[in-house]
């Protein structure tokens, strides 16, 4: 009695596979509840000093110096929005960066790679989980920010969310390449930590990039993320944008068009390398 495989691939079974991967990541994430809570609270440790730093410059009319740079004196909302976007950057660097490596360290990468699905689908599923978890964390953080620091936005939230889409697609495209690179590195922590911090900072998560010194400013303006931060703040807080909004949106769409195929390409290259060298199970 010969057995035949029960595998019945359809387009829906691929979607189910991606969702199963996302579900698995989410379950594992919440199996460490302290960790989950920590993600929400952690930003408070650096937001609080920022808040008091703002207070030490605020006169009777609020942060007028800040308003002269940005067009708004709602300094805390400016920073909180930056923190939300920085959360996604951190999720790509730490979450996606380690997406494959942590599966390898847990000894399950090969089980996944033996399944009859495209191996990049694993990262697609992990991206979905990362987006959901980060959005959840950010919502918690904004809630805390509203309670503690009086976070508020006015303006077109829908338009801002639309702008977020190309930015996130590009970021996660980069995450594909990054995950593959980290997979091959023996100790990536320091590199990930420093690049995450630098990129968040240079993109202007904490301040308007106009204040950067002459040497750093070109770096900042070369980052497409800078325009994403800027456009979303312009829409939600009425910040004066660096460029006209439609230019910023065009830059973000261009960013997406370059990053997504590039990320996939790097991932495929490294997948092939692993297939040749068999480095997948070393830990």
């Amino acid at each position: 009695m010969p057995s035949t495989s029960l595998a019945q691939p359809t387009w829906r079974s691929y979607i189910r596979a991606a969702l199963a991967i996302a579900r698995k990541d989410t379950i594992v994430f919440f199996r460490y509840p302290a960790n989950a809570l920590f993600r929400v609270i952690e930003p408070i440790a650096w937001l609080t000093p920022m808040y008091f730093l703002g207070k030490s410059f605020a006169g009777s009319a609020g942060n007028t110096g800040f308003a002269a740079y940005t067009g708004t004196n709602d300094y805390m909302s400016f920073i909180l929005l930056g923190a939300v976007l920085a959360n996604y950057i951190a999720a790509v660097f730490w979450g996606m960066g380690y997406a494959l490596k942590s599966e390898m360290d847990a000894g399950v990468l090969e089980s996944n790679w033996m399944a009859p699905i495209p191996r990049a689908l694993l990262l697609v599923g992990q991206t979905l989980a990362s987006l959901a978890i980060t959005t959840f964390n950010s919502a918690g953080m904004l809630l805390l920010g509203w309670l503690l620091f009086g976070f508020q936005v006015s303006g077109n939230a829908l338009a801002a969310a639309l702008i977020l889409i190309p930015m996130l697609v590009a970021l996660y495209g980069f995450g594909f390449a990054f995950a593959a690179i980290v997979l091959l590195m023996r100790d990536a922590n320091t590199m990930v930590d420093v690049s995450n911090y630098l990129i968040s900072m240079l993109a202007g998560s904490q301040f308007p990039v106009q204040v950067l010194p002459r040497l750093l400013l070109p770096l900042s303006l070369a980052l497409p993320l800078t325009y994403g931060f800027d456009a979303i703040r312009a829409l939600l807080l009425g910040v004066r944008p660096l460029l006209a909004l439609h230019y910023e949106i065009a830059i973000l769409i261009g960013f997406m068009a370059v990053m997504t195929p590039l990320g996939y390409f790097v991932f495929k290259r490294i997948e092939r390398y692993c297939q040749m060298r068999g480095t997948l199970s070393m830990h």
Binding site: A34, F38, E42, I44, A45, W46, T48, P49, M50, F52, L53, G54, K55, S56, F57, A58, G59, N63, T64, G65, F66, A67, A68, Y69, T70, Y75, I79, D187, N189, T190, V194, Y197, L198, M201, Q206, F207, P208, Q210, V211, L212
Partner: protein
């Protein structure tokens, strides 16, 4: 010498043998430290990166023409916000490094299974910790010097313009305080075995309450009460006043006295706590577990 070899138990516990043990432990720690190349980043890159975000934010808050700086000057006595933030962050990162290193020192030995073999030795427990701390102290001094140099070169921040002698005195008094906090922290880590969350909690408390990046005066009343209990508040205030406002003995004597008292109390409390935890661990026998 021969008698030592023939009858080691007769050798007794002279100060010299303890000292030798301390130095050997320090040497071992140094050798381990050197094996991990990422310390270069810790020493050279983070000291500059960490305060940068706050400095740029302060720049933004000051306004394009520095119009909001007046308010900052009223509160702090200086317009040099970069130097103000740098000094705070150097002290904080020093504490942070100590928390990680000392806190993780015993914990790492515990996880690698070498803690028990160390504790089996007839060496004072205190020597075991001092040996580890000695290496970290050297690294800390290097860290502070490197930070000062980097800020001078990269950001043009003058930090050695004011009353250097008094600032140095304040720093010297802070060494045993930081060490004491480190020991207390290490004991708690050993007890509760949750290093990451505790480092986050402790350094977060110091970050928020000690005025690392802002003057404590802007804190609401109840937070100022907590700030007044934490020794780092005084250290930061004294060092800033001495270096940035050229404050003399008259203005700083109160700060320095408090620091002096903490310099005695903190290590004492740290070691007492350590003793309690150690006895508890021996009673429960969970020293080797993790």
């Amino acid at each position: 010498m021969d008698t030592h070899i023939a009858e080691p138990w007769r050798a007794g516990r002279s100060l010299a043998t303890e000292l030798r043990a301390v130095l050997m432990i320090a040497r071992k720690e140094w050798m381990i430290f050197r094996r991990y190349p990422s310390w270069v980043i810790a020493l050279f890159i983070w000291p500059v990166l960490m305060p940068l975000a706050y400095i740029f934010t302060a720049q933004a808050l000051g306004g394009p023409g520095g119009e909001s700086l007046t308010r900052f000057q009223q509160l702090t006595g200086t317009r040099d916000y970069a130097a103000f933030i740098v000094l705070g962050s150097i002290l904080w990162m020093w504490l942070n490094m100590t928390l990680w290193d000392v806190g993780m020192y015993l914990r790492n030995e515990q996880m690698h299974g070498t803690l028990e073999s160390n504790w089996l030795c007839p060496t004072w427990r205190v020597s075991l910790i001092l040996g580890g701390a000695l290496t970290k102290l050297l690294v800390s001094v290097a860290f502070i010097l490197i930070s000062l140099l980097e800020f001078r070169v990269l950001l043009g921040v003058h930090l050695l313009a004011g009353n250097v002698g008094l600032a140095l005195l304040a720093l010297l008094l802070t060494i045993p305080i930081v060490h004491g906090i480190g020991i207390a922290f290490a004991s708690l880590v050993l007890r509760f075995k949750e290093a990451n969350a505790m480092v986050f909690l402790v350094r977060g408390i110091f970050m928020i309450f000690c005025g690392i990046t802002f003057p404590v005066a802007v804190l609401p009343g109840w937070m100022q009460v907590i700030a007044a209990v934490l020794p780092l508040t005084y250290a930061i205030h004294a060092v800033r006043a001495a270096l940035l406002a050229n404050a003399g003995w008259a203005e700083l004597s109160a700060d320095l006295l408090v620091l002096g008292a903490y310099a005695i109390a903190a290590p004492l409390l740290g070691y007492i706590l350590f003793g309690i935890v150690e006895r508890g661990a021996r009673r429960r026998g969970d020293l080797g577990q993790y």
